[in-house]
Symmetry: C2
Subunit: 192 residues, 2 copies
């Protein structure tokens, strides 16, 4: 009988998540196996399954771990300031990696309901909630009308920028593009 | 020696393109082979290569063939009318199929420069040109300021709607969504 194992250290967890994301970028979601993660990280598959339950949950946790943006913490006093603080929080190489992940996941998310659920709960909803805080404060300050119909489409506008640019211009999003897009599209759509 | 073959009939060409798109939705771009197309359509590989040169060109032509929207022909007299005419030209099942194709291609387009080139020349640029006509007429009518910074992002807003909705809401774009998005986001961003 093996002794009960303690939870993984935060360092070890980070290392595992990093390996999962590397594999995801290299081979895509479908070809990513728990075996490959176990081999790459020299962990046992039993540990992986005990800790995360399933491949979609492991992948979603790895994605969430890699995304330390906390939009809800941003509060500069103006909506334009908040959006640009958000852009500043990121950097070009991170955006390039995010684009690679979205590409790698777009098909997989559609074909795997478990991954879609994990992806939405861990990645989409916290960001939508953070964004909601930023927008709620803008409405409270009177910057945006409470019934502005673009309010509910702000996540779509932002995610859309990331996914459309590679298809239209053949290049990944960077900070300069996103800052320009916020000023030219997102704020005017909100009447700011 | 085989006799020189005449060009394919339009019906046969349509049939071939349909088979290519079916395969693309079923297996994705990477797993789509000229062999599989030849088998599915009972054509010879020699015919496929003589007619289209390469897999990326064949795929791009098939995509272009499936997309008979001619935005450049739309001219209702107002920008809002033109956008909604564009939405009306499509239908929900077609949008669902377009979403499936964009998902299937997003990764492939990034990893295959030839496909990206064919995809942009045959699919993106004609649409951007058509859209440019619609927007140019709106500027000429005085509906949109010539220096409105959102003008150059209209393709991004529209493509973004298609790619973001499945990730954020787990569903494909339909006509009702697109009509609402045009009114809530695209037109206000343009100051209309």
């Amino acid at each position: 009988m093996t002794p009960p194992r303690s939870r993984l250290t935060p360092e070890r967890e980070s290392e595992l998540y990093g390996a999962v994301l590397d594999l995801l970028r290299e081979v895509g979601y479908d070809a990513l196996t728990m075996d490959a993660v176990a081999t790459r990280t020299r962990a046992s598959k039993a540990t992986l399954y005990r800790q995360w339950g399933s491949k979609p949950e492991l992948v979603a946790h790895a994605l969430r771990h890699d995304k330390p943006l906390h939009m809800g913490d941003i509060d500069t006093g103006t909506l334009r300031g908040d959006f640009h603080a958000m852009v500043e929080l990121s950097d070009d190489s991170r955006m390039e990696r995010d684009c690679a992940l979205m590409r790698g996941l777009a098909h997989a998310v559609h074909d795997n309901p478990d991954l879609l659920t994990a992806f939405r709960e861990l990645l989409v909803e916290p960001e939508v909630t953070g964004l909601h805080g930023v927008l709620t404060r803008a409405v409270a300050r009177g910057e945006v009308a409470a019934d502005n119909p673009a309010l509910k489409f702000v996540p779509h506008m932002l995610v859309g920028a990331f996914t459309a640019l590679p298809l239209i211009e053949g290049r990944d999003v960077d900070r300069a593009f996103l800052a320009e897009y916020v000023d030219a599209v997102v704020l005017p759509a909100l009447g700011v």
